[in-house]
Symmetry: C2
Subunit: 211 residues, 2 copies
């Protein structure tokens, strides 16, 4: 009988300075890579029309959310616009990893750094960077969503966020989208061959010993 | 100006139980992957017709070889058939890595384990395994090179070598050749995105800060 190596999944924390094309890349990854899922956040805001509990978000009350904070149940959480809480639950992510699924967590640079500093979780971090600040400026202008002042503010934020590069495991330059996508896929695929991710190694040894 | 990330190369130690198809896979990798080279061994045997010094091997005298052993210049070395020495020089491998080349070292399982135990070098290890002992038997029989007794001896060796799996970084099952090749490529490509392999990080930070 041919061996089939079983591996646990991995949590991929993907972060990038604003405007680096992270969301597009993650969308394509989720479409094209099997056994790869997006982490679902908990939130205290009301569901919008069409949003499904447990698919788009887990919708909970502020009381429930605060209880989860107390119990240290979040990988990270934040209060957005001083109003609603958003957070990623450890249990939710690690139960899927145990089933062999890879999970992507899309998070801003500061949030990613907070998780790294804690050093309590096992994950692989990927930093997506633009090829240059000039290119980032072009992209933000052509998007037409922000004023010149807003764009320059964003570029300054990006400059600061780029300083966190050294804390990540992998770096991918998003110059040509297809190339960046292929690099991200390589990283995800190669991590699936990690010996330390194998489960049931005793059975592997048995498989070969008994034939 | 667009950033080009410069990385140092990596030493890939590739090992496999005999008959796993390692040599074919390495040959294809070297043909298809840019900036990937084979490590050149030192040997004390005479060059065969057509062999070029510094390309196929570095041909040295036994005296020179023993001097290199004394000076701890080898990543590993062995005396084959109690007659000729073969060895891989640290300087040779690491000078190419410094130039940004990835280097593949093809080595038997025991040799790989010796290198790992020393823990003095920086490398990534990959273990190629057959899908089953039965499949290995089929391959060895269809190769028609060995007697039944010799094949059973090889299978026993393979069974023992498979126990070293846990010491490697990555594992690739060579069932369908194209799939195994693609997995190996992913591993090599993904390692090129490692932040810890970046050289000249100060320049990267400058690049983004000054624009």
């Amino acid at each position: 009988m041919k061996i089939r190596l079983k591996t646990r999944g991995e949590l991929f924390i993907i972060s990038a300075p604003s405007g680096s094309g992270k969301s597009t890349l993650i969308k394509l990854l989720l479409e094209q890579v099997e056994n790869l899922e997006y982490s679902i956040s908990y939130t205290t805001r009301e569901p919008r029309k069409g949003e499904i509990n447990g698919k788009d978000y887990f919708f909970v009350s502020e009381k429930e959310f605060k209880k989860m904070i107390e119990n240290n149940e979040f990988i990270e959480y934040a209060k957005v616009f001083d109003k609603f809480y958003y957070g990623t639950s450890k249990k939710q992510v690690y139960s899927r990893i145990k089933q062999g699924k890879d999970v992507i967590m899309d998070i801003d640079v500061q949030g990613a750094y907070q998780i790294m500093k804690k050093k309590e979780l096992d994950f692989t971090s990927i930093f997506i960077i633009p090829p240059s600040i000039e290119e980032l400026r072009k992209r933000l202008i052509s998007r037409g969503r922000d004023s010149i002042e807003e764009i320059e503010k964003r570029l300054n934020t990006a400059r600061n966020e780029l300083k966190y590069l050294r804390h990540f495991d992998y770096v991918v330059v998003n110059d040509i989208l297809e190339e960046a996508l292929s690099s991200l896929k390589s990283i995800i695929f190669s991590e699936r061959h990690r010996v330390k991710r194998l489960v049931d190694t005793e059975n592997i040894y048995k498989h070969f010993a008994e034939e």
